[in-house]
Amino acid sequence: MVPSIFAGLPAAPERRRATPLWRRAFAYWCFQFARTWRSTLTASVVYPTLYLAALGVGLGSLVDRHLGATSGSAGLDGVTYLRYVAPGILAGSVMQIAVNESTYPVMAATKWVHTYDAMLATPLRVLDVLAGHVGFVLLRLVVTSATFCAIAAGFGALVSPEAVLAVPAAVLTGLAFAAPVMAFAVTQERDSGFSVIHRLFVVPLFLFSGSFFPISQLPGFLQAVAVVTPLYHGVALCRACTLGRLWTLASLGHAAYLVALATAGWAAARVTFRRRLAP
């Protein structure tokens, strides 16, 4: 319609196959990222590298000296502290990025900028809106994990060729956080809950899930708590990849836990997104 406004323009050519609806939402987030990638990427790569340098190398020199470890001989879990800590930092940072991307941007899209509403007035459905955003978060996680693994390899922190599987392991860890957190974030009216989530869940998980020291150092009941939290499994899975100890039943258990959490989170998100966006 509107013939005179578009007079003279060629009619929009028929595509052979229409772009899937969710990909159109995904394209939007990529467009936004292309505008802001410098600051977000530097943060998500620089900060974990700083942890690796300070704790892996700096603190690592103290730990290795105390435990009599040098590259290759006995130490924490049989390796130098740097190699012990690198997968822990990988999983921990991936968790932080996943939570960050699943909280404030979701609230912005729901409430402040109304991005989701704009999308839903077009052929896109709620499922496409959700899938497009989750797809973008996954992309972020892949890029960050891969970059960090490259940096860690440069530090000499990655032992085995299976370390390349740490990237999908880390992405799975991140997804296990992103899906349920997004399901929660879309229900919120104020962002005050997010900083509480960060301080009361993200930071303790980051510090007590086996990233920096084995959870056997925790008192008994806290060990039991740690074992049911997602980051513990993410750290364990990533460490199994980077230390070349992947093909065990325990790894299968860790992966299964993360897959289950991600799936449950996705199912919950489908419900909460629909409830909030198309009531």
């Binding site: 406004i5 900028v113 109304h114 509403d117 077009t122």
Partner: protein, 311 residues
């Protein structure tokens, strides 16, 4: 062929409930191609809920709704491909430029990049925003943002454009500019659905409208027909010294068609305002302020519901 242009939107017994709360309580209407159809009513009347159902963004709780000949429950994406929505709160991305807002929206419709860009530039001309193409949206005035939102709604070349309170919050000059652009769209043959609580907007724009209140339709028809049917030709508004209102109302009601006692004045309905004023004087009242005007949709709403549109 059966008579009359095709029906673009058809509703029978349309309902919307949010838990216990009933926002839309069984409404019927037909919207034909090429007309400007209005939903007039105060805040909370159920207009926005109805709009969202027509735009296939909210599933009806009951009743039958057909948009562009299709059922929203099954064909939402296909229906929305031919609709443009101008929401009440714009939903523009303030951080992006004017042009970028159009470009990203067009991509949701799977328009090729070049086509989107060409259309966007034409639409900026239509919205008289061409010089601001690169400006960030948060630097635009309210009226400019609304024109941008209207332009955005047209990017896919829709046959139906839905506008939810298009001139709320705009200054008079901006309002007239928006009306003028909408009128141009109507001339192009686009079907427009407008919700508003401004009676002047309803009278100026709409070919037909329904009056909504409390989730129900109180009346339907063209603005002229509604006024002719429900209220008299002229209205005399007077303010009296206190305490005499009730007495005055009783007396005047005998010589006019109707009297409405509002919080701060008296509205007398009749064929001729000056005649009613003379009667008032004859009865010994000395109004402190007097206004004679033609009856409007506001009076229709007052007649039907006992309340003002802008309460």
């Amino acid at each position: 062929m059966s008579g009359g242009p095709p029906v673009v939107v058809s509703a029978r017994g349309l309902r919307k409930e949010f838990g216990e709360f009933v926002a839309v309580d069984g409404v019927d209407f037909d919207i034909v191609r090429g007309e400007v159809f209005g939903f007039l009513g105060p805040n909370g009347a159920g207009k926005t809920s109805t709009m969202r159902m027509i735009a296939c963004m909210s599933p009806p709780s009951g009743g039958v709704l057909r948009v562009r000949g299709m059922d929203p429950a099954h064909d939402g994406p296909a229906i929305r491909a031919g609709i443009g929505l101008v929401p009440q709160d714009d939903a523009l991305d303030l951080e992006l430029s004017v042009l970028d807002n159009l470009l990203i929206y067009g991509r949701y419709f799977d328009l090729p990049r070049r086509a989107v860009r060409e259309r966007a530039l034409r639409l900026l001309e239509f919205a008289q925003l061409s010089e601001r193409a690169g400006a960030k949206v948060d630097s635009l005035s309210g009226g400019m943002r609304r024109r941008l939102t209207i332009a955005r709604a047209l990017i896919s070349g829709p046959e139906l454009v839905i506008l939810d309170e298009p001139t709320t919050g705009l200054d008079p000059q901006a309002r007239h500019l928006v009306w003028e652009r909408l009128y141009r769209l109507k001339q192009e043959g686009v079907t427009l659905v407008v919700t508003t609580h401004y009676m002047d907007e309803a009278e100026q724009l709409c070919d037909r409208l329904v009056v909504m209140d409390g989730g129900r339709i109180a009346a339907a028809g063209s603005p002229r027909a509604l006024i002719d049917e429900h209220v008299s030709r002229e209205v005399l508004e007077v303010r009296l010294a206190d305490d005499t209102y009730a007495a005055a109302a009783e007396q005047i009601a005998k010589v006019t068609e109707r009297v409405e006692l509002l919080a701060d004045r008296l509205c007398c309905y009749g064929e001729d305002g000056d005649t009613m004023l003379a009667e008032l004087h004859a009865l010994g009242h000395r109004p402190t302020s007097v206004l004679v005007r033609r009856a409007s949709l506001e009076d229709v709403f007052l007649r039907l519901t006992g309340r003002r549109l802008t309460d």
